[in-house]
């Protein structure tokens, strides 16, 4: 039954609903695959074999009783370790939360359980979702299934790699500056950042509250849409959650899969075409644009003049919020505590705990954010960055008056070898150059595989107006129908 791991979520759900495979068989196949390959990939920080088999057995029992099952019932899923899962270790890949088991589920996890999905475990990531390569995990990096010597993208490298390694057909990621899309691009999988507020953040360990967005990852656009639909929608526990019905992304993906884009206007972001990107990335992107045109789409070049300031604005806003969000990790209530031997003051214990518990990138951002928010610098940094954010939002608004969606490569370069960018944080930050504007604006964006460069996957990014998530799924599915999915090499 090893071919069960090669199937899409939609196919698996069909087999289970039709009684051709049990949910337990499907879960077992994936758990066995994890056991076989994850030593080399290291996509998972924690595998919940027992919980997965129990959830799968529950689905089988419900089917046995003739209950109606949802479109993802029995389908295995991997969840990024930054999302709270009741009773299952949740560490955000940080030493400071080692062994912490949340007493509650994140809203999206509740929804996933209600949908009957089977959680396999928690995936590796950059510590507190800070990084673009998963090299900043306190528990060691994840390896890209396309080339184990290369990074799987970040911060959701574990989630993306679990898909590319056929360990799971679905995964949950979170996207603060590109952490779903960029790993999707470099692992040849699909990853969508929903509209900010379209998916609940309740239970997502906060990195940058005004940017963080949980979202779906899968190997096909249709699967991504199914997962998107399962987790989206208003949540009264998240004040920033949008109190509106979620767009019908599943229907949009179906429409797109027919391969007809007649009347759809695509905006090519001028600022993101060419300069700074690897030649292979640019070439794959251009070929894909031609494919979209063949499907009937019209392509217009659009200038978004403030996008070039997105990266610096992001690196003021995100660390500022992070410095505040991470203040709760002080060793007082949960997690790691260091130096509590009675000889030290409270301040010393907090300080020692944070020093031992946080890794270098997290410390770098806490310091950056603390500085940017401090009185005397607030206006010059944080305040200025917020103004840039407003200008970027205006760029998007005016662009969407002219076109339906914007397109660009997802990343300027393919998966890079480990260690090649860790010594220069700025080089690392460039990995999210094309994805960050969307987070500052709040709209949805998706990365879809669009070809290879030097044997490594390249992603194409589709950005849409807020709450027009369906629009980007239509284009994404059409692109997929034209260029196909990518198959990683055998591990």
């Amino acid at each position: 039954m090893s071919d069960l791991t090669r199937m899409t979520a939609a196919q698996l759900a069909g087999l289970i609903a039709g009684g051709e495979a049990s949910a337990v068989e499907v879960a077992t196949a994936h758990l066995d695959r994890i056991a076989a390959v994850d030593e080399r990939v290291h996509a998972f920080l924690h595998v919940d074999r027992e919980g997965a088999l129990a959830a799968a057995a529950d689905v089988d029992a419900r089917r046995g009783r003739g209950e109606e099952l949802g479109p993802l019932a029995g389908v295995p899923i991997a969840v990024k370790d930054v999302i709270a899962t009741k009773g299952v270790p949740t560490t955000a890949a940080s030493k400071i939360l080692e062994g912490w088991r949340p007493p509650y589920d994140a809203t999206i996890v509740e929804r996933l359980r209600a949908a009957g999905t089977v959680m396999l475990g928690k995936t590796n990531m950059d510590e507190f979702a800070m990084g673009s390569s998963t090299e900043y995990s306190a528990y060691g990096p994840t390896n890209n299934p396309w080339d184990l010597g290369r990074i799987p993208g970040g911060s959701g490298g574990g989630s993306a790699a679990s898909l590319a390694a056929y360990e799971a057909p679905l995964a949950i990621g979170t996207d603060t500056g590109g952490s779903i899309r960029q790993p999707g691009a470099v692992t040849g999988t699909v990853g969508a950042k929903p509209t900010y507020g379209g998916t609940s953040r309740y239970g997502l360990i906060a990195f940058s509250s005004s940017l963080d967005t949980p979202g779906p990852c899968a190997r096909t656009v249709a699967d991504t849409a199914l997962l998107h639909a399962a987790i989206a929608g208003h949540d009264h526990r998240d004040s920033t959650s949008i109190p509106q019905p979620a767009p019908d992304v599943v229907a949009a993906a179906r429409l797109g899969a027919t391969g007809d884009l007649t009347g759809v206007k695509l905006g090519l972001v001028k600022e993101f075409s060419g300069e700074g990107a690897e030649a292979g990335v640019t070439a794959a992107f251009r070929e894909s644009v031609e494919a979209l045109v063949k499907l009937g789409a019209e392509v217009v070049e659009i200038s978004c003049p403030h996008f070039e300031y997105a990266l610096p604005a992001y690196y003021l806003i995100a660390p500022s919020e992070a410095s505040s969000n991470l203040a709760r990790f002080d060793g007082v209530r949960y997690g790691l505590r260091v130096g509590d031997d009675g000889s030290r003051s409270l301040e010393e214990v907090m300080s020692l705990t944070r020093d031992a518990g946080f890794g270098p990138e997290v410390k770098r951002r806490i310091m950056l954010g603390t500085y940017a928010l401090s009185s005397g610098y607030y206006d010059a940094y944080y305040g200025q960055a917020q103004k840039v954010r407003t200008l970027i939002t205006r760029d998007f608004t005016s662009a969407f008056e002219q076109v339906d969606v914007l397109i660009s490569p997802t990343t300027p370069f393919v998966a890079f070898p480990f260690g090649s960018r860790t010594s220069d944080p700025y080089q690392m930050y460039l990995a999210d150059l094309y994805t960050i504007p969307t987070n500052l604006y709040g709209g949805p964006a998706i990365s879809v595989p669009c070809g290879l460069s030097e044997g490594l996957p390249v992603g194409l990014q589709i950005m849409a107006p807020t709450m027009a998530d369906d629009r980007m799924y239509r284009v994404a599915a059409a692109l997929e129908s034209a260029v196909g999915t990518l198959t990683p090499p055998e591990l």
């Binding site: 999302i83 709270a84 949740t90 955000a92 939360l97 912490w100 949340p102 007493p103 509650y104 994140a106 953040r201 309740y202 239970g203 997502l204 360990i205 906060a206 940058s208 509250s209 005004s210 009264h236 526990r237 998240d238 004040s239 920033t240 500022s320 919020e321 410095s323 505040s324 203040a327 709760r328 990790f329 002080d330 007082v332 209530r333 949960y334 009675g342 409270l346 301040e347 907090m350 603390t370 928010l373 401090s374 009185s375 607030y378 944080y382």
Partner: protein, 497 residues
């Protein structure tokens, strides 16, 4: 500094002018916390009223409590403030173990209410205290240091934290600096806090109990020589009674005058008011201001009260307590100081309702301010929670007026009411406390008393009417206090005349 000779208060105010500023925190009486659904009951077992949100577990998120916002707006309106049409919560970042998130969700440059005033009356004179802002924030938890001799952190072996209070909505009311008060500054400060307390109590948004910390006051004081710039201020923290507000200002004025007289300078610092001595002791130095790194709270959407809602809330404000007191004082025919006692006891509404239920003003006041206030004090509960309702008190008074109960026995009936035995009439019947009005039975008791006390009877016959008291007492004893003393006395005198 310890060698500084302290001037008298009169000397201090002769040489210096005080500037005061008050920051008052009011814990709102909402059923649930400001950003989660946890209950807010006072005195619950530690850490039993907590959830992932108010414990700041990773991933937990706040959602604002509409009742807290409404209460804040009503306070702002009652203090004549402008209400913002759009504002945001902010994060105030600092590390402290009783603050779960290590930032306090508060308001900074965008308060909900601004630019109001409170008129404070003192001996017929009115002082207008201007309000800078009224904003909404959340309370912190409480730290308990154990193992040491003093209960303070120094010498403690362990520190325990109770997060029940963490997240309870707190409204902060900040005055503008108040000048020109001269020697009256301490009294005005006290009267302001009293007025604020009365206003907030009348709104029903908080029980404003200083001794339980639901109303807490920080008092800023500075002195300057006439015509010169304002001096450096100090802040006395958590002053927990009206009397202490007055004492804190007074003692700080004297202390600062002593330092200035000696040519010293005042350090900007936080000081702790000492209930036992009435003075303040230094706390944290504020020479270098703490950098709280405020920024707009990204987890909460902005607050944009619908103007129509605000108009509605304004129309629904109760009569201003000072105006109401003046009106009721007139109606009840009592003095200003009696009225103040009624207000301090939280009895205004109770007495009003008792009168509405049919009692006279004097009757209503007598029970609430006498027997019931005493019980409330003894048991440490609010008068409104003492166990008797205005309707019951009115019924009790009616029974007295009808002659069915005498004063003394009425107290026993009230005891039964408070103990939950039922309405006064039921208690009276159940305990058999009705006045013995059967003159035949009384006459028998009188005759027995006369027969048992021939000496006293002889005195009375000789015209020493005052001696009748002893016989009245004897009759009351045999009737278990249920006779009307006046009637008994009349019967005795009639028999012996």
């Amino acid at each position: 500094m310890s060698t500084t000779v302290l001037p008298t208060y009169d000397d201090a105010v002769a040489r210096y002018e005080p500037v005061i500023g008050l920051e008052t925190h009011v814990e709102l009486g909402t059923k649930t916390k400001m950003f989660c659904g946890c209950p807010t009951d006072f005195g619950a077992e530690p850490n039993t009223q907590v959830c992932p949100v108010c414990l700041a577990l990773p991933g937990a998120m706040p959602v604002a409590n509409r009742a807290g916002i409404e209460a804040t707006i009503r306070i702002g309106l009652a203090l004549n403030c402008d209400i913002a049409t759009w504002c945001r919560m902010a994060r105030k970042n600092y590390f402290y173990p009783d603050m779960p998130k290590n930032y306090q969700t508060s308001q900074y440059d965008e308060p909900l209410c601004t630019d109001g005033y409170v008129d404070v009356e003192l001996d017929g004179e009115t002082f207008r205290i201007e309000i800078e802002r009224v904003h909404l924030e959340e309370d912190t938890g409480k730290t308990l240091h154990v193992g040491g001799a003093t209960g303070r952190i120094h010498g403690a072996t362990e520190s325990l934290v109770d997060y029940n209070r963490a997240g309870i909505p707190l409204v902060e009311i900040v005055t503008k600096p108040v000048t020109g008060l001269g020697a009256r500054a301490p009294e005005v400060a006290r009267a302001y806090v009293a007025e604020l307390r009365d206003i907030i109590r009348s709104l029903g948004v908080s029980d404003v109990r200083m001794e339980q910390g639901s109303l807490r006051c920080d008092v800023n004081t500075s002195l300057n020589k006439p015509g010169e710039e304002w001096g450096t201020r100090t802040e006395a923290k958590n002053v927990n009674s009206l009397r202490s507000v007055e004492r804190a200002v007074r003692s700080e004025m004297i202390r600062q005058a002593g330092i200035l007289d000696a040519g010293g300078r005042i350090h900007q610092e936080t000081r702790h008011f000492q209930e036992d001595t009435g003075d303040t002791r230094p706390g944290r130095s504020k020479e270098t201001a703490t950098d709280y790194r405020y920024f707009p709270e990204p987890d909460l959407v902005p607050i944009a009260p619908d103007p129509a809602w605000v108009v509605e809330l304004k129309a629904g404000l109760p009569e201003r307590p000072s105006a109401k007191r003046a009106r009721l004082r007139e109606e009840w025919g009592i003095s200003e100081s009696d009225m103040q006692s009624v207000a301090n006891a939280g009895a205004v509404e109770l007495i009003e309702e008792t009168i509405a239920a049919g009692a006279t003003a004097a009757g209503a006041r007598k029970w609430w301010m006498g027997e019931l206030a005493r019980r409330a004090n003894e048991t440490g509960v609010e008068l409104s929670a003492v166990g008797a309702t205005p309707a019951q008190v009115a019924q009790l008074q009616a029974l007295v007026d009808e002659g069915k109960l005498n004063d003394k026995v009425a107290r026993q009936v009230l005891e039964g009411v408070v103990a939950g035995e039922g309405d006064p009439a039921q208690v009276m019947a159940a305990r058999g406390l009705e006045v013995v009005s059967d003159t035949g039975a009384l006459q028998t008791a009188v005759d027995e008393a006369i027969a048992a006390n021939p000496d006293i009877a002889a005195k009375i016959r000789d015209g020493k009417v005052a001696a009748a008291g002893a016989l009245v007492g004897a009759v009351m004893k045999t009737t278990r206090g249920q006779a009307d003393a006046k009637t008994v006395r009349e019967l005795i005198l009639a028999r012996l005349s």
